[in-house]
C-alpha cells in the first residue's frame, strides 16, 4: 500500500509557512491543504503526517479529508493541471473534441500524468463559465474561457515550452460579466455603507421585521423564508452567532454568484453585515467555491477597504459594540458542500458530508454556534431591502415569490449571460429575450431542478410554479435529451459524497445503466430499473443531492421518451455484463486479439 519507510517528521518550509498562517487550527484543515498543495503541486504522505501531528489530528483523518475533495491530490498531477469544464453546455460548445485534441497534441491520455510529470489533462464539474465556454481550469487558480482549436494548439505549445501560466495571453483569462437584463439587484450599485446605515438606523428588531415584511425567500433553491431563518437563529441560545454566505455555486449551469461577487460584492458583504446586526454575530464566513479562486484577491481587497471605511471590524459605522468581520474560505471541488450542513462541515476542516438534521444550523451550526447560511443573491436582496424597505420588495414578483430572480442563461441561445426578472416571468419570455430558437427543452435550476418541454414554456418562474436556484440551460431541437440526462447522471455519480447507500450506489447504477443504453445494449427492463432507482433515491437519500439526483432522468424519460426508446434494442432483458469485454484482460495477458479470442457475435 505505502512504503515501509517511516514518514518524515522534518517539516519543510511550505508546511511551516501554511501552518503558521493558520495558527495550527485543525478547523482550517481544508484551507491548509489547499494552500500547501498550491505551493507544492500535490500533497505527499509525509505532508499529511506532518499536518496531522501539528494539528492534533490522526493521519487517517487528514487522509480522509484530502481524499474527499476532488481538487486535492495525494499523487503527482504535473506542474500543469489542465481541467476541462464538463457541464453539458461546455460539451455543446465542443469541449470533448477540444480535450481529445489537447491530449493528442500532448501525447497523454485523460487523467494520466504526461511526460516528465509535467502535465495532466482531465475533466472537472461545471466551472460556472457556461456563457463563455468551453472553459478550462488550470492549477485550480486560472480559468481560460472561450476555448477553440487555435487556443488549444497554442496551449499545448506553451505547456511543452514550460511557459508559466501567468505569462500566457492575458485575453485567455478574460471573464465577462454578460449582464443582459438588470433589475433591482444587477443595476447600478448603491453607495457603500448606505444599506448598512439604513439597517443600523432601524435597529435589529425593526430590520428583522422588515425582512419578514418583504417575504424574501432564500435564493439557493429551497426557498426557506429568510426572516424566519434569522429569527430562529437570533432566538437560539449560544455564546456566539455566525453568518455564512454560501458562494459554493456548484449547480451546473449556474454562474450568477460569480458575477455578483465580481460586480456587487459590496452589496453581498453589506447584506452579511446587516444579518450580523440582526442575529448578533461577530463572525462572518464566505464559502467561495474552489473554481472561483481567481475572485479571492479582489474580494480580500474589498474586505480591507470596508475595514478601512469602518464598515467591518470593531464599532462598525461608529456603533459601539457592533463588531463583525468576514473571512473567506475557499472550497476544493465538492458540489455537495452547497448543502448547508455539508458546507459547515467543510468550513470546520472536515469531509463535506451532510449532517443529520435536526439540529438545524440555526440551532447548532459552525463549531456548534447558531448559524445562518444564506445564498449570495439573498444577501444582495437583503441590502436592497434595507435601503428601500420590505414593503417595496413585496410589491415586486408574485404572492408567494416576492422580488426578482437572477437567471444564468446558457446553451442554445444567441445571448447567454445574466437575466434578472421579477418572479412570475414566463419561461417563453426569457427564451425570447435571450434569442433562443427552435427550443426543445429548458433545464431550469440545474440538474437538480426541472426539465421543461416546449408544452410548458407558458409556465412561470416562481416558488409556486417553477422554482429555481438560477440555472437556465436551453436545448434546441438538434440536441439529444438522452445525452443531456446521461451527462447529468455522471455529474451526480461523480459528486455523490458517498455517505448514504442510495446515493452512493444509486447514482453509480444510474450512470452505468445509461452508459449501457448509450452503448446499444438497452432493453425495456432498463427503463423499469431506472424509474425504480429514481423513486428510491428520491425517498431514501440522506440529503437533497441524492433526492434530486434522478430529476433529469425522470423528467426526460417522461417528456422525451423517444430519445430512450430508440436506444432500446430488445423488449426483453439485456445483461449489463458484456462477456466479450470481460475477456479483454485475458486477451491482453495472452497477447491475443484473433477471432478465437473473442465471443462470437450473435448477429
Amino acid at each position: 500500500m505505502y512504503s515501509n519507510k517511516p514518514l518524515s517528521t522534518a517539516v519543510n518550509s511550505p508546511v511551516q509557512a501554511v501552518l503558521a498562517r493558520y495558527g495550527a487550527d485543525p478547523h482550517a484543515l481544508v484551507q491548509i491543504l489547499r494552500e500547501l498543495q498550491h505551493l507544492q503541486g500535490w500533497l505527499t504522505r509525509d505532508n499529511l503526517y506532518q499536518l496531522a501531528t501539528a494539528l492534533g489530528l490522526t493521519l487517517a483523518q487528514v487522509e480522509g479529508v484530502a481524499g474527499f475533495y476532488r481538487f486535492f491530490h495525494t499523487r503527482p498531477v504535473g506542474a500543469y493541471r489542465v481541467l476541462f469544464s464538463d457541464n453539458v453546455t461546455d460539451r455543446m460548445l465542443g469541449s470533448q473534441a477540444l480535450m481529445t485534441d489537447l491530449c493528442r497534441r500532448l501525447g497523454v491520455a485523460p487523467g494520466q500524468l504526461g511526460d516528465d510529470a509535467l502535465f495532466s489533462v482531465d475533466q472537472t464539474s461545471c466551472t460556472g463559465l457556461c456563457d463563455q465556454g468551453p472553459a478550462l481550469l488550470i492549477n485550480y487558480q486560472w480559468v481560460v474561457t472561450r476555448l477553440d482549436a487555435e487556443r488549444v494548439a497554442r496551449l499545448a505549445e506553451l505547456i511543452r515550452a514550460r511557459v508559466p501560466v501567468a505569462q500566457w495571453p492575458a485575453q485567455w483569462f478574460e471573464v465577462r460579466d454578460n449582464v443582459r437584463r438588470a433589475d433591482v439587484l444587477l443595476g447600478a450599485p448603491s453607495e457603500p455603507g448606505a444599506a448598512l446605515a439604513a439597517a443600523l438606523a432601524r435597529g435589529p428588531t425593526a430590520m428583522l421585521a422588515d425582512i419578514k415584511r418583504s417575504r424574501l425567500r432564500g435564493r439557493g433553491g429551497a426557498g426557506f423564508a429568510t426572516g424566519l431563518k434569522w429569527e430562529l437563529c437570533r432566538q437560539a441560545p449560544g455564546v456566539e452567532h455566525v453568518v455564512v454566505c454560501n458562494a459554493d455555486e456548484g449547480e451546473p449551469g449556474t454562474f450568477k454568484d460569480r458575477v455578483l461577487l465580481s460586480r456587487h460584492a459590496a452589496a453581498v458583504f453589506e447584506g452579511m453585515t446587516i444579518a450580523a446586526h440582526v442575529i448578533g454575530a461577530r463572525r462572518g464566513l464566505l464559502y467561495l467555491r474552489g473554481e472561483y479562486r481567481y475572485l479571492l484577491e479582489p474580494l480580500l481587497a474589498l474586505l480591507q477597504v470596508r475595514r478601512d471605511s469602518h464598515l467591518l471590524g470593531t464599532s462598525i459605522a461608529g456603533q459601539q459594540g457592533f463588531n463583525f468581520d468576514i473571512a473567506i474560505h475557499v472550497g476544493a471541488g465538492a458540489y455537495v458542500c452547497g448543502e448547508e450542513s455539508a458546507l459547515i462541515e467543510s468550513l470546520e476542516g472536515k469531509r463535506g458530508t451532510p449532517r443529520i438534521r435536526p439540529p438545524f444550523p440555526v440551532q447548532r451550526g459552525y463549531l456548534g454556534h447558531p448559524t445562518i447560511v444564506n445564498n449570495v443573491e439573498t444577501f444582495c436582496a437583503v441590502a436592497a431591502i434595507a435601503l428601500q424597505g420590505g414593503a417595496w420588495w413585496a410589491t415586486i414578483g408574485t404572492a408567494e415569490s416576492t422580488g426578482t430572480k437572477i437567471h444564468s442563461v446558457s446553451g442554445d441561445c444567441q445571448r447567454p449571460g445574466l437575466y434578472e426578472y421579477p418572479y412570475g416571468t414566463r419561461i417563453d419570455a426569457i427564451l425570447q429575450d435571450c434569442g433562443a430558437r427552435d427550443t426543445q427543452a429548458v433545464q431550469v435550476g440545474g440538474p437538480s431542478g426541472i426539465c421543461l418541454s416546449d408544452s410548458e414554456f407558458d409556465r412561470r418562474i416562481a416558488f409556486e410554479d417553477v422554482p429555481t436556484a438560477g440555472a437556465f440551460m436551453v436545448f434546441d431541437r438538434s440536441r439529444d435529451m438522452f445525452e443531456v440526462a446521461r451527462s447529468f447522471a455522471h455529474f451526480f455519480a461523480h459528486e455523490s459524497c458517498g455517505f448514504c447507500t442510495p446515493c452512493r450506489v444509486g447514482t453509480e447504477l444510474v450512470a452505468r445503466r445509461l452508459d449501457k443504453l448509450a452503448a446499444g445494449h438497452g432493453s425495456s427492463d432498463d427503463l423499469v430499473v431506472l424509474i425504480e432507482l429514481d423513486r428510491l433515491l428520491h425517498s431514501a437519500s440522506h440529503c437533497g443531492l441524492g433526492a434530486s439526483a434522478c430529476n433529469p432522468l425522470r423528467d426526460t424519460i417522461l417528456k422525451f421518451r423517444p430519445a430512450y426508446q430508440q436506444r432500446i434494442k430488445s423488449p426483453h432483458f439485456e445483461p449489463a455484463f458484456d462477456l466479450d469485454a470481460e475477456l479483454s484482460i485475458a486477451r491482453r495477458m495472452t497477447g491475443r486479439d484473433d477471432a478465437d479470442a473473442h465471443f462470437e457475435n450473435e448477429s
Binding site: G64, T501, T507
Partner: protein, 240 residues
Amino acid sequence: MTDKVAPVQSFLLDGKKVLFRADETILQAATRAYHYIPHLCWHADFPAHGSCRLCSVKVNGQTAAACTVRAAPDQVIESDTEELNGQRKRLLQMLFIEGNHFCPSCEKSGNCLLQATAYQMGMLGPHFEEFYPDRPVDASHPDILLDFNRCILCELCVKASRDVDGKNVFSIGGHGIASHLLVNSESGKLVDTTMALDDRAAHICPVGVILPKRRGFAVPIGQRRFDEKSVAQQAQGEAS
C-alpha cells in the same frame, strides 16, 4: 438519568402503540419496546449514523430514517409495509453489489447482520449488476483480519475505536462510490496500529470486515446467531 424516567408518551408504529421517553428516536423507542425496524448502521450503544437508510419509515406520510427522527406523540409511523420492505430489499442489494459478498465462504455467515437482514427482507438475488471492486484485504495484524470487500461504511468501528477504545484506529477516506475505510498508521496497515483483539472495535462490525484470526468456523454454519432465530424474531425478543 433518562433511562430511569418512565415512558409517558406514545406514537403509533404499524398500528401498535409504542411508548417513548424524552429524547428518544423512533428507532430507539421501537427497539426498546421489542419492535423490529430493519437497520444496519445503527447500534444502541452509539449515536445515530443514518447512512444505510434501511430504517427509513413513513412518519405521518413523510419518509425519514427512524434512527435520526426524534419520537413525538402525534406520529403515525408505517414501517412493515410492502413498499418500505421493497425499498429495503433494493438498498440491501445495493450494498451487496457494491462490495464482494460471498456468504458461503465468509466466516461471518450466520452471524452477519447484512445477510440476516437480506433473508428477512426476502432478498433472493442481486437484482443489479455487480461492481466487483478490487479491495485487497489487510492481513498484516497478528490477531485481526480486515476484509474490506464486505464493508458497508456503517462507521461503527470508527466510533468504537475513537469513543470507547480511545485509539482512533479507523477513519473514512475517498468519496462517492470509492469511499472506503482507512486504517490510521504510517503504513496504512493494521499491524502498525495499537488495535488489539479485546478492543470494542474488534467486535462491533455488523458484517465480516473485522474478524479474529485463527478462529474459522468454530461454530458450524446452521448453529449460528441468526440460524436459529431470524433477526426480526431476535429483535422482538420476549414479545415474540
